[in-house]
Amino acid sequence: MKVEEIRVCVIRVGGTNCDAETKRAFDELGVKADINHLNEIVKKASLLDYNALVFPGGFSYGDYVRAGAILAKGTLTKLRHDLKMFVEEGRPILGICNGFQVLVEAGLLPAFEGISEYPEATLATNIPIGYNCRWTYLKHENSGRCLFTQKIPKGNVLRIPVAHAEGRFLFSKENEDRYLRKLYDNDQLVFRYCNKEGEYAEGEFPVNPNGAFHDIAGICDPTGTVFGLMPHPERAFYGWQLPDWTKTENMPTYGDGKLVFESMVEYLKSRF
């Protein structure tokens, strides 16, 4: 399909707060993105009018209970069928920060055997504890499964900021080794926290900003069409968003975050 035919749905509820800049990223690529309240989508039953779905960052419903949990259950209750269709048809679903938490809580990630009834992983309270807003380096780990990073060569290092209090990716202790192997076997690992040179953080703060297991910053599902990450690519879209652009003689026009959105649009163009 042509770029201008692509329709992206950026979903929001009370407490979602990164919807505008997420939409802006698509606007910049010539893609039409609509910000829709979940209530609206449910009322109009219009989710399947869209080619892609994005859960942006924020504090959906105040993140009471657990981050992302209420929106995950709400979405499943109201849109389970449509979501299943989305995944089955390979329509991309992206979750950023709170959106990643939603996808994990909803069982859409890691979804080893398809959408799981209970969460198979969690995004726990940061270690060190507390909200943390900082720029991080991410190493691209994916061998080609993840459609959202197809424009990024494996092994490349990206710079994208995080801002969250609950981003420590974890598996339950008893499943840790097995699930990690699955991530590798299925090519589901996408981003790991590393330093500027690309050396893994090995859990060390602040290179790994939240204590995530195996320095995991983002994963996709086994089909590569569902992707969640804690860092905010929409905040690293333009050159002037970079933390040290004033250092450069000529400011770069774009930042690394753009590649995620571009890959997604590229996929939509060729797949549909």
């Binding site: 009370g14 407490g15 707060n17 990164c18 505008a20 800049e21 802006r24 606007d27 309240h37 209530n39 609206e40 960052g57 924020g58 504090f59 419903y61 105040g62 507390g130 909200y131 943390n132 807003c133 900082r134 900021p161 801002a163 905010h232 929409e234 905040r235 879209f237 333009y238 002037w240 968003q241 933390p243 040290d244 004033t246 250092k247 400011m251």
Partner: protein
Amino acid sequence: MSHYVKRDVPFELVEVNLQEADDKQLLQISRELGIALNLTEMKAVKNYFSRKKRNPTDVELQTIGQTWSEHCYHKTFKGNITTPEGEIKSLLKTYIAKATKELNPSWCVSVFEDNAGIIEFEENYTIAAKVETHNHPSAIEPFGGAATGTGGVIRDILGVWADPIACTDVLCFGPLDYDYSKLPPGTKHPKYVYRGVVAGIGHYGNNMGIPTVNGAIHFDESYVGNVVVYCGCIGILPKNKFVKDTKPGDIALLVGGETGRDGIHGVTFASAELTKESEEISRPAVQIANPIEEEKVKRAINKLRDEGLGSAITDIGGGGISCGTGEMADRSNCGIHVNLEKIPLKYQGLAPWEIYVSESQERMLLSVPEKNLQKTLEIFESENVKATPIGKFTDDGILRVDYLGQRVAELDIDFIFNPPKFKGTAEWNEPDLKEPTFPEPTDLTEEILQVISTPNIAGKESVIRTYDHEVKGNTVLKPLQSKYGGPNDAAVIKPLPDSWKGVVISCGMNPNYGKIDPYWMAASAIDEAIRNNIAVGGRRIALLDNFSWGNPQKPDRLGSLTRACQACYDFAKGFKTPFISGKDSLYNESPLGPVTPTLLITAIGIIPDIRKAVSMELKQPGNPIYLVGKTYPELGGSQYYQLKGFTGATVPKVRIEQAKETMNLITKAIDSGYIRSCHDLSDGGVAVASSEMAFSSGYGVELHLKKVPRTSEIRRNDFLLFSESNSRFLVEVPEKRREDFEALMNGSVCAEIGRVKKEGILSVYGLKEKNVVRADLTELRRRWKGVLGG
């Protein structure tokens, strides 16, 4: 005999027998009802009801108490003040607003009138700005107090129909290592207050998705009993979307959260000194924050604005619905008829007066023409926000309040908005301070390391990282610069996707100088706020003032307040930077005494093209470094003196003509591309500014104090390093633009004093060309970050 007669109605309503009360009893009633009115005011109330030939209800007295509180009416700033030099009629009109009035800039859209000041921005947009104080609640309940402070100031921005784009916070605490055994009963330890306040501010801003981009933290013993919390918010508003046109017949629509017992008497409590009983008595005065509710309210209000459905808006803050309804009616020369039973409650059992004065959070009041009501309600419903018509505006200038069919209040709006004038006496006696004498230390490297690790100068990264300063993706210049998190002088926000124009946000505050002279403290705060703005490329600057002072009924407090106000006029006028909004918090006193007079100046500038913004860290080894502006022997109130245990007397002054010239030249140099990095000189002088520029970049610096432009009285290296003279900048110029820069600066006070070095060392040569400082950047950075963490 009791003065309270319960009315025979099926709910709690009390008639207060004012007519038979003598002076002593009037004051007793004021105290018992917790309305904090003085005798003159109580007598005015008594007279009013004598004329009406009846006694007031508790609802009426509470309404008057709220509306006439210092917090709501700013009695002191509007009052008559007797000074040895004559009488001042209104500090606000005589000084602060007067500067704006005389400057009369065409780009000021609304000043001192609405919930926030409004100035022009881009062709179709204006900027709204407001900074609030939330000291008293934060002293009692740090987390809730600070969170609702942020929530409140965001509602002020919503209250002029604007969309919030950034928040600021400036906080003053007691020393974090304060001796527990010295804490008076009922006073919380500074560390507890610090953690709670910081968490509260982050909680609200982060949850609402508004970046907290600028601020400061200051420590002083005088804040142990009374923390100072300033919360600011900046918003953007499409031109011609500002509506303030309530007409009789319009519906009064209450939107947002439900009303409960939290926040009863917040404003009257904020208008009195804190005591050891405050914790117990005033805990209910602190509100409970729910930022997600406000986030939804914001969405709905933005939609409403775009569709032009409302005729006016205001926030429900201090004084609750009693103040909000009255103010909206007063502003539009209407009356209003309120039905209290319509107001949605969190739980049952509130007396009518409690419903009317409760300051429960996340509520706004709108006036909506009846024909737009249905559509308006639909918008709120679509965001899951409660919206309830609670009354109607009338044309007779009377406030009527009913509850379950009974009239519980009927007051002339004109009466409640014309309280008796505050009368105060101001006197200011110059403190008896001397300049200290002590030998010049032999090891200046160690002095720098010590100054840089005083809590006031040390890095605040551990706090700033807990605030989302990137959300909305528009933060061009961040509070933490580059890899090492250098302290940028101002934040730059790019609020519009299709314009390169930016909003520049900075602040200035130095309570230490006020211990010597509040006039020069105010002048310095103005200079600092402006130069911080200028340093990154800001211009066309508007100012906001926030005063936190002690009890104004004490002549010395009022005297120093008056002096600070005089400076506000002189320097706002001098710099041609109008005040557009402000807020004061008085009665900041505890058993430990008053807070040191604390004036915060916030500066809002613009930058035509954000790509020209300049950050503070050094960029390129080999580049020359210039000091712009003159250094005077001004160490009074400096961090250096404080470290040595002195206050001193030589408070930094502002030489307005010289200051203006310096700032104009910096702007020209930035626009011409002659400046690669720029940092203002403030706390800790050249020593601290050069250290910060160096360790934030990883490049070293070599400085020669002999070349520093100065007055001949300075003959010591330590004074040159640590003098805090105003209106000075340290700038890095690209080697290839050296001649252009020097040509531009020709004739002004400016000298090349050093160079950027590849080696990570801060190296300073003294007046005798001897090396007097040699500090490793890693060590400097470690000491700077080591105090508060980061």
